[in-house]
Symmetry: D2
Subunit: 406 residues, 4 copies
């Protein structure tokens, strides 16, 4: 099946190929695979608004290389001339795809089925595409059932990468590089504008929040965002909620006074007692209802009907009854909460930030704030047109954001 | 119940109080709580081997402050003169402790019951102590059952903090500070010595490993450690195993060639196909048995009967069938695997490293290696006498360690 | 001269030996040198305000080891019982000390000369002590002249390390550790209090400032501090002044708009033209006088008579005529500017921060702010009782500090 | 002089415009300046080896914007159609350029003079171009003399940016991103290949080295590189030489044993005595000649006639007599040493690394190694096609490099 003769293929694509550096990516991919290209036709967008169009012949040293190259080019928006239906194969057993299944990117994808192009629903990364009742849907491997019709190989698939938007809030100029030497307050203003835009257009916002927001004393400012309706979804882990509740019940976070910043006493006492108290109350909502919990981030979430999902991790103490320790459930609940979200702001949590990044399609903007440039780089590297990184103090960032928004 | 009259208490302690900076910690705690101390008697260890003994009167502005202070001093090894039994209260409902339960540190602890001092078993942090059949055992909140007799308040409890060992392998001089300007090869030699010592004395070693070990090309060296029997327990997450297996099946890790370091093709293809292949095979052991998986870290674990536990996280793709997505189970399996371990080496994983740190008693040495000083600082801060941090390239570290050990 | 017989010596010291961890340091030093100690007498400070007193016999395996150990113990505040004058030897040639010269620490030091104890003037690190006209003064190696009477060996020298102050503004609790998870606004408040205290008591403040203050858009806030008299001395390099002046003349910093944060045009144009314009004007003061320079940090320094010193570096473009490229002169001018300073705040400049740290005696408090924990660690490691490190966004820090102070 | 009418201009360029992302840069620049473009003609390179050619009309809202835009486009390789001589103006006074002088980039530049295109000599960044005797030369502002004929405005200037080389040693694929999760040993192999290539073709290598190379115990490996002739130029500061010499004379670096990594005794003693000893000997060469200095990096430099230049900084102790504290001289000596260098390897020194980066033309490859990603990012950001960054442990890197090369 694997020819070692040179094989050729014509591929085409169009869009903001130069601005979005797709052309560079396409040529790089060809060279990297040991293949060569021959541009048959290229029409450049004459102005900033026009699309460019590329038609080229690629020649690879064998069919296996060609297949691998085409797979990569597909994600960069290229398609072969042939208009054929996608190949379908049934899942062999529950929780498994056929060997040659097409693994999705997070870009908008169409699949040709019965002569029609279907837009893929629930677009996300690293999924299989199942065709059922003339609808194409992303499905995780573990959610596949034996016999599901899964899109395989590369035929009949089209991917439309996001193009870099150059004008709206200057987002384009803020993406890509990661530096702590930026003009932070200007960046905060733009992020505030983006959040306002999302809200104005009826969209929802998600905040993915690490416990540093509590440690650094920014919980009060974050509560202000919650009260004013700027947070529709709060995604976090056990630690955020525990530290927040410890602060609400005892005024400390891991035993450090939230008011003075000085250690108050053995941290373990408050930390574990806060967990025990909520466990006894039967959970966060019950603790608010009973009057035990009267302030803080989790309290405001309950009071203002903000959807929150707490996903567990191996390092969790307790945990709180609200923390979901079954990760299959946690991933599903995160994904449901993110449906229809227009912007996700990740505050100092690499773990949950990457989790959320895996679930979002490429057209949802992500803002990632962390004082550690490695964390920002890691999140931005997953999708540079999508993610804006800001290396700054998360506590002071939340303070500034609340000031700009409120 | 809460007096605002000044109250006094006599406390005493002994040990390497000055070398281990316990005295500084004790005095700091008193001042921080707004209390005062009056040293009644202090006998200093005349030589490096002698213990020091401290007897002091502390005066606090009220009984609540005194209680909190005594709780902190307890963890620093102090005890009150009174010889009384520990107070027991029953757990009110399943999964909850009485409100005033004593939350454990990771130091060796004794509890006085029926006039006898019982050493607490399964010592770990953030647990409750249950007395049953004249045995005292650490139990996590969620494992408590209604009616369990739980140690409450502070009476009848003694804690013995680890003292800094000053001579063995110079461990003391390598703990504490975190710097990337150390003489790395010397540190590696000492770590190798410590591992050899543990093995020689019949102890077990645990390695807690992040996927960077694969990305940086150190898997071959780590396999050598596995083959030579230097790894008894491997604790990791889904990502390590997936990247390792991707490397074994396709020679790539996230689509990057492990041989040349250059991207080979769209990473998603190999990554997800590796997962799918193992899912189809029925798991890692089955994949080794069937001949599908023939090299790499997971292969060597299976071949050499190294106990491995993979704990899931919210960011996991797939996951592999071997990855435990129920975190209650994952935490229990980690804790079981760590029983009797003499040294734990954490390689570039903050998440699993903290998880393991929570489970280990303070007398098990921990070595934490990461290129990011923030990660090392965070792990070392949890127990500075216990943990040695090394800021270096993890890949090159594993290479050096294998060279010294093999 | 170098005996290999065991030798003994009695040393004594007093002070807050336990709180300041001097005892730990002393015992560590003895063990590290392969010597042993035998505590003859130890009187502990009974309360937080009392001094402790230590008298011990140390035994070393030879006189060379003893000499090295005593030298280290001297810096930790220990002295031998013998009351003899310091040994003096003449400098052999200009710019050199005698081989056995005593190299200073930054702690307060006394030298015994002609039966009297002289307090050493111009205390700083890494200097020689010259006795002239019954005064003892620190002098850098290169400032020694042939024939200068230089203190040698260890006799007749007493060093008084700073003790940790535990109460004032909680400085003690903020020193030592380096973490980005602190409650930043609380720390800012305390720093503001310290600055106010210094001003109130007639002291002077020095700010050591890197160009990040301009890049991050904090120049306006820093100007406010200058206008309100909170900055007595500004120590910086060429880059701070150039970026500031570029901002004042063109509204950009390295070609990035200070208002919008977006790149405006090729940065080199503005950057080099700003330098050229000031060179042509004859310097910063002349540019202010002529009306060319009308705003910014350097402008406010001139307008409010703030002493500024710009020290050159190998990476400097231009430089500005005000930048001192002869480092002998620059070091002297820095040191003169620092005389009598009560607090030094280092904002995002490791190079100039270390330079300043080398010049300050240990009783001047240093605050070091940087977003990079490695920089803060490096500065704090030079003197942990003296330096408080804060890992945060420098731009937002200056904003907060101006808010608290103004 | 400053029109606010829309003005248009035709510009053209050719080269590997897409691979090198020059097209993206050009379009971005136009949009960023508030101008617009209209592509008149674009011929794409049909294969990987062919050049592309772009002809476009740009329209700006006024002549000032157009001027600024053209200046930026010039650096991206664009030229206007008009073939006119460069405008010359005399320097008004010593050390200053005319106001409208052209400030150079580090790319290869030609200037049209008397109808001929002259290639600019001594190409470097941030310089003025002087025409003298029909030769065009880069000159720093401070080296200009009154009356020098300086190239002004933008006419008659052509810049040829470096194109990304895609094949040689895969350098292209290693540039740009900064990550600590790379396959380090593969990168080391490529760097070794590049160094061998430079040597084979008769080129010279420069190493820019920070003191971490000594602290981390890599001095022995670096000495091996010196002995084998892989280092032609060593550029460093005072600290590298002092720590190295301290190691050679006393076996310590800042008082830490280079053999065991443990502190040996008060660091100041050895550190300052090493400086004093070399000062007394009259410098490094004299110390080698007299037999005082018998090993280490500086010793090998002297023994193997490796050119070394030590540039001073504000933080320097001593300094050594060889350290150049007049930075005008130091910059000139660095620049002379770099003439004809084919590759520069920067090891853990941001200060000297940036200094060297400022002096090198864009066609000299730079490798930057540091454990701190911020340092690598900062150096790579200065010229991404030129600089390859590697985030790893510098000590272990030097070990690996010596192993591959020797």
């Amino acid at each position: 099946m694997d020819s070692t003769h040179a094989v050729s293929e014509i591929v085409e694509t169009e869009g903001h190929l130069i601005d979005s550096q797709l052309m560079t990516g396409i040529f790089d991919a060809v060279v990297r695979h040991g293949a060569s290209f021959d541009v048959v036709d290229f029409t450049i967008g004459r102005t900033n608004d026009d699309f460019s169009r590329l038609l080229m012949r690629i020649t690879a040293p064998g069919s296996a290389v060609m297949h691998a190259l085409l797979e990569e080019l597909l994600t960069l928006g290229c398609r072969t001339k042939a208009e054929v239906d996608a190949a379908l194969q049934p899942s062999p057993i529950d929780g498994c795809a056929p060997e040659d299944f097409y693994s999705t990117s997070n870009h908008r994808t169409w699949v040709r089925h019965a002569g029609h192009w279907l837009e893929v629903e629930r677009q996300r990364m690293d999924a299989a595409i199942v065709i059922q009742n003339s609808r194409a849907t992303c499905r995780k491997l573990r959610d596949l059932r034996a016999g599901d019709q899964v899109v395989c190989s590369l035929d009949g698939i089209r991917v439309v990468p996001e193009f870099r938007e150059r004008d709206r809030h200057g987002f384009a100029f803020m993406t890509g590089g990661v530096s702590s030497e930026r003009h932070v307050e200007t960046s905060v203003e733009r992020i505030a504008d983006m959040i306002r835009d999302v809200k104005r257009s009826g969209g929802r916002t998600a905040f993915v929040v690490g416990p540093v927001v509590v440690h650094t004393g920014a919980a009060d400012y974050f509560c202000e965002l919650l009260r004013r309706g700027y947070v529709d979804v709060l995604l976090a882990g056990n630690a955020l909620a525990v530290h927040d509740i410890e602060g609400a019940l005892y005024g400390t976070s891991l035993g450090v006074s939230l008011r003075t910043g000085a250690p108050v006493e053995g941290g373990h006492r408050h930390h574990m007692r806060a967990i025990n108290a909520i466990r006894r109350a039967g959970g966060i909502r019950a603790a608010v209802a009973s009057g035990l919990l009267r302030s803080g981030i989790m309290y405001e979430c309950v009071q203002h009907d903000v959807l929150f999902v707490l996903a567990g991790s191996i390092r969790d103490d307790g945990p709180l009854p609200d923390t979901i320790m079954d990760l299959f459930v946690a991933q599903d609940r995160y994904a449901e909460a993110l449906a229809g979200v227009g912007i996700a702001v990740v505050l100092s949590t690499m773990l949950h930030g990457i989790g959320v990044g895996n679930m979002l399609p490429s057209w949802v903007k992500v803002v990632c704030v962390d004082i550690n440039p490695s964390v920002v780089t890691k999140l931005v590297d997953r999708g540079s047109a999508q993610t804006m990184g800001l290396v700054t103090d998360t506590g002071l960032f939340v303070h500034q954001l609340a000031k700009k928004l409120v």
